[in-house]
């Protein structure tokens, strides 16, 4: 049996799919450059960039000084000169020093130059909790990015999407904040690291499970939670539909609203904090567009409104199957007379 066949027989992880997405993009387009702290020799602390420096050289997969504003700021200049930087922020909360570059320059350079200077930068941010990380290693910062016009905000939940969406992000002429759910890095799928794989267009949600009685709207690390909840809910007589957003910006109103109109009930599930969080926007959008189809208020199941807790307590903070099922039960809503 050849090595390739042996590898094909083994299911791939999300981390491997992401790595292949960068490798394929770099092989096809010499302007694609990967950069960040530890992405070269080490292959990234999650090994997502493993082998890229060896294959493409340190000039195209560069270990930078440890400085996130510098990493993203120099990427802006590189993009100005026609390169396509893919930068890694290593951990969610480590990206905060780069916020000024992201908000003041990356997000608005196209706009302020009236289209003359696009920013084809992909900012890879491993995000979210559930891996027992200590403080500053588990934040869900998607709402900050969503609130900034000019950025695309993308987050895969499956191995296929990890490949397909990262390819699309790198190919995009606009900046993409690519949120990688780090607790799914080692999730596996029957996905060959060698076989042809599809590029997924950014901005389209998918229905992961069809159902008739309510819609769970979710993304990234909470998708497996919702799938499990949907299975469990069957015993209670709930036939749940699960929508995986995949892209928070642009937001796929069409797919989400079509689902809610079918089911008449909706719960938004994510682990970011609820107040001012992504679910607030999603619930408002759904209510504005589907009010007459709704049998109950759109509910949110989110992380508590607290700084991310220490790992020994994170299971109490992260929305789990039970919390989702509790919300589903509350959808049997009756208006107070």
């Amino acid at each position: 049996m050849s090595t390739a066949t042996a590898r094909q027989a083994k299911p791939a992880t999300m981390a491997q799919a992401l790595q292949r997405a960068m490798r394929d993009a770099m092989a096809e387009d010499p302007s694609v450059h990967v950069m960040g702290e530890d992405v070269g020799t080490l292959g990234g602390v999650f090994r997502v960039t493993d082998g890229l420096a060896k294959e493409f050289g340190e000039e195209r997969c560069t270990d930078t000084p440890l400085a996130e504003a510098g990493i993203l700021g120099t990427a802006v200049g590189m993009a100005m000169y026609g390169l396509r930087p893919v930068v890694e922020m290593q951990f969610d909360a480590f990206a905060y020093p780069a916020f000024e570059q992201l908000i003041s320059h990356v997000a608005r350079m196209r706009n302020r130059t009236r289209g003359a200077m696009p920013m084809p930068i992909t900012v890879r941010v491993p995000y979210g909790g559930g891996i027992g990380g200590v403080e500053h290693h588990s934040d869900s910062s998607e709402a900050y990015y969503m609130a900034t016009p000019g950025l695309h905000v993308v987050t895969p939940a499956t191995v296929d999407d990890a490949y397909g969406l990262l390819r699309a992000a790198i190919a995009s002429d606009d900046p993409v904040v690519f949120l990688e759910p780090k607790r799914l890095y080692w999730s596996k799928a029957d996905w060959s690291p060698e076989a042809p794989a599809a590029v997924e267009p950014i901005g389209r949600a998918v229905v992961r499970r069809q159902g008739r009685s309510a819609t769970l709207i979710t993304y990234g690390p909470s998708l497996p939670v919702c799938m499990e909840a949907a299975e469990a809910a069957q015993a209670e007589g709930w036939d749940l539909e699960v929508v995986d957003l995949r892209s928070l910006v642009p937001f796929d109103d069409e797919t989400v609203c079509a689902s809610v109109r079918r089911t008449g009930r909706a719960v938004v599930v994510h682990e970011a904090t609820g107040f001012g969080g992504p679910g607030a926007e999603i619930a408002a959008r759904v209510t504005e567009r589907c009010f007459h189809h709704l049998e109950a208020p759109v509910l949110r199941v989110a992380g508590f409104d607290i700084p991310y807790p220490p790992p020994m307590l994170e299971r109490h903070h992260l929305p789990g199957v039970d919390r989702v099922l509790d919300a589903v039960a509350r959808l049997q809503w009756e208006a107070e007379s």
């Binding site: 450059h33 993009a79 000169y81 130059t113 937001f251």
Partner: protein
């Protein structure tokens, strides 16, 4: 077993793993005295044609600053951060670059962009309150005027690095004020530039104040040029009002970068004669005597003395420079007095390469509002034609 059957070897500490600070390349420290050309022996070596060109540009630049400041009083510019007194830095920055090089200006460096050949009206677009950048940065190789402090410096490093990766001998010149050197991006940019040996030159215009805060409250460094040594790049200190000196130092640094010698930090010591912007009251934080002392050390006056002393400046040359500056100002006044026509639909045109569904909805809403307004005659066919 007895406690000690045989005498133990004498304790010898193991030597620490080898490490010592880099001492090569040799001295990176700037000369403590700012470099000067005008009025010194070095002036004899200066090219007369260059001095005359610098003179004409300085005169034009001074007039430009005056005209732009006047336009703020007429409400034609929303704000203008004048570079009066600093024209030597602005002009030398532009003239030290080749056409293929890039300039990364701060918000005060409009004049450098104009001296590089940018249309004065395009250069003022941001300050006018019209679209943020009035030109194609790639066409002119001038990055957008940068309002956040020092954030354009890492852009310059990245661009210079990318150019070198592509095999182009392009140099990036990044300009920043003394206040900007306190920002984190200043540090990160210099550090990246030195580690990557990027072909970039950092020009700090130390004009004494960051709005109202004097340099002594900004830094405890011996000079801003001294900061270079910590990054492993040479620092140069130059008299920022001596156009010939600034030009020489910058040309040298740009050439060194182009030859693969890596980055340089240049501190030009100058003074902001006008207030921070037209909205600032400089009398609250500095005295007249200080300003007067710097007026004596005026960049145009320094160059005039030199040129006159060498018999290079006659009345005709002075008049020609003055006339050219007046003509520029008159044309600028005339063009800036025309009301710009902006298309409100442009609000949505360049947020993304392809409009999102959300923005399409909002654009339709604005379109409807404009159509309703146009019934009242406030929005004509001009916007629709675009």
């Amino acid at each position: 077993m007895t406690v000690q059957e045989r005498p133990g070897a004498a304790y010898r500490p193991t030597p620490p793993p080898a490490w010592k600070p880099r001492t090569d390349p040799a001295p990176l420290l700037p000369d403590p005295e700012p470099y000067r050309v005008l009025g010194t022996d070095a002036a004899a070596g200066a090219d007369p044609q260059l001095l005359l060109r610098l003179y004409a540009e300085l005169v034009r630049g001074r007039r430009y600053n005056a005209q732009a400041t006047a336009l703020t009083k007429q409400g034609r510019l929303a704000v203008y951060p004048s570079s009066t007194g600093q024209e030597a830095c602005e002009v030398a920055a532009a003239l030290a670059l080749e056409e293929r090089d890039w300039l990364f200006p701060s918000y005060r460096d409009t004049l450098a962009a104009v001296a590089r050949g940018l249309d004065p009206v395009q250069a003022l677009t941001l300050l006018r309150g019209d679209w943020h950048t009035g030109y194609d940065p790639r066409e002119h190789r001038i990055a957008p005027l940068c309002t956040p402090l020092a954030t354009q410096l890492p852009h310059a490093v990245g661009l210079a690095h990318a150019a070198r990766l592509k095999g182009d001998d392009v140099v990036a010149l990044a300009m920043v004020g003394d206040g900007g050197t306190s920002e984190g991006d200043f540090h990160e940019a210099l550090n990246f530039a030195a580690v990557w040996q990027a072909p970039v030159v950092f020009l700090v215009q130390n004009n004494g104040f960051a709005i109202s805060v004097p340099l002594a409250k900004q830094t405890a460094a011996p000079s801003l040029a001294h900061k270079a040594v910590g990054y492993g790049m040479p620092g140069r200190l130059v008299d920022g009002n001596d156009a010939a000196a600034v030009h020489e130092v910058l040309t040298e640094a740009v050439g060194r970068a182009r030859r693969g010698g890596g980055p340089t930090l240049v501190e030009a010591v100058t003074y902001r004669i006008d207030a921070h912007t037209n909205a600032d009251d400089a009398t609250r934080y500095r005295g007249d005597s200080e300003v007067e002392a710097w007026r004596e050390h005026d960049p145009i006056r320094l160059l005039e003395k030199e040129l006159t002393g060498r018999g290079l400046l006659d009345e005709d040359t002075v008049k020609a420079a003055g006339d050219a500056a007046e003509a520029m100002a008159a044309k600028l006044r005339e063009r800036m007095n025309a009301d710009p026509v902006l298309d409100p639909m442009d609000l949505f045109a360049h947020v993304y390469a392809e409009q999102t569904g959300q923005l399409r909805e909002q654009a339709a809403q604005l379109r409807a509002e404009l159509d309703a307004e146009s019934g009242e005659g406030t929005h004509g066919a001009e916007g629709d034609a675009r």
